[in-house]
């Protein structure tokens, strides 16, 4: 189809909206290979901040998303894939909203239900479940931790942060409230007070000399979808945001110093956020990186915080070192000790400017991320790279959906309702799609589930995998070696972990992953058709092989076998030495199959 390649082969704005008339950055996209079909055909374009704000912020009407999407599809004569069957839908919506497979009884009941609005009702029911809140708590934990270098002192509060985020989702706090709480946090997180102040974790995820620029970059990436850190070191000729813009943004964190451990009687008892009463961020001089210009905080739109009095931006030596400036770091030649805004005031101002209804990036970044997570593909790709002059697939759609998200005060559950009730969400996967190109939301893109969902799937299929050590919230996480908490659950959590901001088509498997599912003794023990194991019970309860097979399929893939699959399995049962062994082979094959790990 070549759509993806053609999509990213486009350089300039395509007239759906007048974009910033600049060439795309040289490093913007990697694929520039295929000769393109007439460019105007693709629903690709570039949005400027002004354009976003012209779009209606009224609640989305029923069917509105589909009218917008289908209009774009009609322009390029692409027919949407058929709607999902109930069986396909119930698995998808469970995995997307809760990271868990539906129970076989729920599948059967859903198939029997004849009410017309059963899909909408199921979406509502799942949005109210604890599993929904836990799934997204876990999601945000991974967004932050997979890009941070987190030491053992901070590792201990990661589960606390996950619980905090879970509680926000449970209460359906607005995305603006969740963001503000994290950006304006201060104080400590103590190990002995696991449910206090954990919103400070995001700001604690950085530490040391470069914590200012790192947290500035992460704040921009996560909450605005803008990767302004590219401008940290160099001006890019074609990028609207220059080096100075990055350092002005970083100046909101000028008096922030990241995390420091709290030591009491030679024991670490918690972590705290360090805030200084003075100091300014300096943009390093290109000739002499030990000196730099003091920066005034300024938002991406060039606006200073409300009420801020600009201070003369003079040159001075840059303080280095960990928590406190080295001698000469501040004061001399820079802002006076009393100059500028306090740390709290700066971060509060930043939270105000980020969540301001006239800032389109905040809503767009969240909508793009959530849409991508549940649809398998997003408007902007990767999901955390929106601009300033990146092309979006179907910009009219994200503009309208994110405007409505602003209009309803960043109501997360309403956003999920709007997306998940659309036909666009409820489409099937489709044969012949290439797997690494944009499908224009005409068909579902099958993507891998995250490691927590995989553990949950295995557990709901086989029962609890390991007890105790390294259990649910294993202490160690990360992509390297040497961080296993122990036990097969922790192994899976570590080996299958991926950064949720990765493009779906770039999430790779590994040989170590395959080895776990193939050979892990604990998993294979659970596969055995004996005792109280899943298979043992099924074979005891169902004498009929076809019946037993149906139950095994419902438990693993949350669907019934196709005729061809049933035939192949029955043949295998016939040819194998024993019924138990044959079913063990089938269960092994299903757990190791691609589909088992896929949201589809």
């Amino acid at each position: 189809m070549g759509v993806f390649a053609r999509f990213f082969g486009q350089n300039a704005a395509l007239g759906l909206f007048a974009g910033l008339l600049l060439a795309a950055p040289l490093w913007a996209q990697e694929t520039k290979k295929e000769p393109k079909k007439p460019a105007a055909q693709l629903p690709v374009g570039n949005l400027d901040a002004k354009d976003w704000l012209k779009v209606s912020t009224k609640p989305l009407e029923k069917g509105e998303i589909d009218r917008l999407v289908n209009a774009e599809l009609a322009k390029v004569s692409i027919k949407p894939a058929p709607p999902t069957t109930d069986e396909q839908f119930i698995r998808r919506v469970h995995l997307d909203l809760t990271g868990k497979l539906p129970a076989p009884a729920d599948i059967v009941a859903f198939l029997k239900d004849t009410s017309k609005d059963k899909r909408a009702k199921l979406i509502d029911k799942l949005l109210e479940s604890d599993a929904y809140a836990r799934h997204w708590g876990n999601y945000w934990r991974n967004v932050i931790t997979t890009r941070a270098t987190i030491d053992f002192r901070l590792t201990q509060v990661v589960p606390q942060y996950e619980r905090w985020m879970t509680a926000q989702y449970k209460a359906n706090k607005s995305w603006a409230d969740i963001t503000r709480a994290q950006l304006t946090a201060s104080g400590k997180i103590l190990y002995k007070e696991p449910d206090k102040n954990a919103q400070a974790f995001f700001l604690m995820s950085r530490r040391g000399a470069d914590s200012i620029t790192e947290i500035a970059a992460e704040t921009s990436r996560i909450f605005l979808g803008v990767q302004i850190q590219c401008a940290q070191c160099h001006d890019h000729p074609s990028d609207v945001w220059k080096r100075r813009h990055f350092h002005e943004f970083a100046a909101y964190f000028a008096r922030y110093r990241g995390e420091r451990p709290i030591l009491e009687e030679k024991k670490f008892v918690g972590v705290q956020l360090i805030s200084l009463p003075f100091g300014e961020h300096r943009m390093p001089d290109k000739e002499d990186p030990k000196r730099g210009l003091a920066m005034n905080p300024k938002f991406l739109d060039g606006k200073q915080p409300a009420g801020a009095k600009p201070v003369p931006s003079t040159s001075g030596p840059i303080g280095r070192g960990g928590f406190f400036p080295k001698k000469g770091g501040f004061g001399k030649g820079g802002f006076g000790r009393a100059g500028g805004m306090s740390d709290d005031a700066r971060r509060k101002a930043l939270a105000d400017q980020i969540t301001d209804k006239n800032n389109p990036w905040f809503a767009a970044a969240f909508v793009n991320r959530m849409w991508g997570e549940v649809m398998g593909q997003s408007f902007y790709s990767p999901i955390d790279d929106l601009g300033p002059q990146k092309d979006a697939m179907m910009p009219t759609v994200i503009a309208r959906v994110s405007a409505s998200f602003r209009g309803n005060d960043y109501n997360i559950k309403q956003l999920f309702r709007d997306i998940l009730n659309s036909d666009a969400y409820q489409r099937q996967i489709r044969p012949g799609e290439p797997g690494d190109e944009h499908l224009l939301f005409a068909a579902r893109n099958p993507v891998r589930m995250n490691s927590t969902a995989l553990v949950a799937s295995l557990t709901s299929t086989l029962g609890p995998l390991s007890s105790g050590f390294g259990g649910k919230f294993g202490k160690f996480g990360g992509g390297g070696f040497g961080r296993f908490g122990g036990g097969v659950e922790a192994q899976i959590r570590n080996e299958f972990l991926f950064d949720p901001s990765t493009k779906a088509e770039e999430i790779e498997g590994s040989i170590s992953q395959a080895l776990i599912l193939m050979n892990n003794p604990q998993i294979n023990q659970k596969i055995r058709a004996q005792g109280t194991n899943m298979l043992g019970r099924i074979l005891a309860n169902y004498d009929d092989n076809t019946e037993a097979l149906r139950v095994v399929y419902l438990r693993t893939l949350a669907r019934r076998p196709t005729d061809r699959e049933a035939k192949r399995c029955l043949e295998h049962i016939k040819s194998a030495g024993s019924r138990a062994e044959a079913f063990e082979d089938i269960l092994w094959a299903l757990i190791n199959s691609t589909e088992f790990q896929m949201k589809r």
Partner: protein
């Protein structure tokens, strides 16, 4: 096999073998198709050369005074004494007797510096060549080297990490933006076979084969309904894993095949056995092995603890050099001994030393490095570098030079940002050549 000729080989696997081609060839491997046709002449050239690298990472930051830059007689030197080595004029701390004997084949850099004094960030810097930057996950050295020079049709992992478990372990840094294809294959305990490589109890090879066949058949409907691309990718890894399980080369992981005398020589501890395993893996064709030895963060009781750790490190490091040399593999295997930083010249109130990134020592051997040399020097009290400072980028360029990797090659992050393998620096010329 000179370093100069290696530099002529421009290695760029990703330029010639796309990810999908790689996956296809991985899948084809099991179907009995050769991979060679998908490899370029350059890759073949490299495969023949079989360059490898072993990183011995001393987590916590070893004291240069108690290792390779002792200062006996100076107040900062403490009670540590120095011994002669096989090379006239090179003296090292007394526990390092085995290394002293191999000194003809080992080069010391006493003028190493690093701008970070915090464990995690310094460990990150020494593994990736970069300090953490928001939004970019830099790959660790093993992943970089594996992505550049590892052969593609090899049935063991090309990057193996041994031990290093714990807070200062380098393993907390993975393959970053290079992807899980180049992630370290982790071995916690070198005395045991790696996790999950043996078939579970009750599964014969024949049954394993039947299961794989069944799985392939049962995936067909999902593939045909729209999952084909994902099935193709997944199957590549499944086949890779199945090949590994069935590989005769797996026995490289089995230390029980070594004599008791050999195992004793390396030291009966996790690091020593890890070094022995590293030798076996490199000889079998593994490209990069990292072996960790933690515990060097000696804020207290520095002298006793450094001596204990040195005894372990000495036996593992020296026997690795010796065996690879006697077996003719040392020229093609670069060995790096380093921590994340050094320790303070001043001895603190707890008879310990604190973090000191400004001037510390590392050791290099093999891979074209000329042994018996000392690069750089420090002042009498060890406070300052007095000659030939070497930075982290210089060290990374040196590794690239030895292995035939272009340090200026740019890799792309997921957002298409070009990242050089090494930003800045130059290789240390004095370490190579006559």
């Amino acid at each position: 096999m000179t370093a100069q000729s290696l530099m002529q080989v421009r290695t760029n696997h990703d330029g010639v073998v796309s990810r999908r081609t790689f996956l296809r060839s991985l899948a084809a491997g099991a179907a009995g198709l050769g991979l060679m046709e998908t490899l370029t002449a350059h890759a073949q050239e490299l495969r023949r050369r079989e360059m490898a690298c072993i990183l011995l990472f001393m987590g916590g930051g070893p004291s240069q005074f108690e290792t390779f830059d002792p200062k006996p007689g100076h107040a900062n030197g403490g009670a540590t004494t120095a011994i002669d080595t096989a090379v006239n004029g090179i003296r090292i701390a007394s526990p390092w007797t085995n290394v002293a004997r191999e000194m003809n084949h080992i080069a010391l850099v006493r003028s190493m510096s690093n701008r970070e004094g915090e464990h995690q960030r310094a460990t990150y810097l020494m593994h990736t060549g970069y300090l953490p930057v928001g939004g970019v996950r830099f790959p660790t050295l093993g992943s970089i080297v594996a992505s550049e020079i590892a052969p593609r049709n090899f049935d063991l992992p090309s990057f193996v990490g041994i031990g290093g478990r714990g807070i200062f372990g380098g393993g907390s840094i993975g393959s970053g933006f290079l992807g899980t294809r180049y992630a370290p294959f982790a071995i916690q305990n070198p005395d045991q076979m790696p996790a999950n490589v043996s078939l579970p109890t009750g599964t014969t090879q024949a049954r394993f084969g039947r299961r794989l066949g069944l799985m392939q058949d049962l995936e067909r409907d999902f593939a045909e309904s729209g999952g084909q691309a994902r099935v193709t990718d997944h199957r590549a890894y499944v086949n890779g894993a199945a090949n590994l399980v069935r590989s005769p080369r797996l026995q490289a992981f089995d230390l029980s095949r070594e004599t008791a005398a050999t195992r004793d020589r390396y030291g009966r501890n996790a690091f020593g056995q890890g070094c022995l395993l590293a030798r076996r893996l490199v000889e079998t064709g593994v490209t990069f092995v990292e072996v960790g030895l933690n515990g060097w963060d000696t804020h207290q009781n520095n002298f006793d603890r450094s001596r204990q750790l040195s005894t372990q490190a000495d036996a593992g490091f020296a026997n690795l050099v010796r065996d690879l040399r006697e077996r003719g593999r040392l020229d093609r295997t670069l060995i790096i001994w380093t921590g994340e930083f050094g320790r303070t010249p001043r001895i603190n109130g707890n008879n310990g030393r604190d973090h000191y990134p400004r001037a510390f020592s590392i050791a290099l051997a093999g891979g074209g490095i000329r042994g018996g040399r000392v690069i750089g020097s420090t002042s009498a009290g060890g406070n300052d570098i007095t000659n030939r400072p070497v930075g982290v980028a210089d060290l990374f360029c040196t590794v690239c030079h030895s292995l035939g990797i272009d340090p200026r090659k740019e890799n792309q992050t997921p957002i298409g940002r070009p990242i050089r393998i090494v930003d800045g620096g130059n290789h240390v010329r004095e370490l190579f050549g006559a």
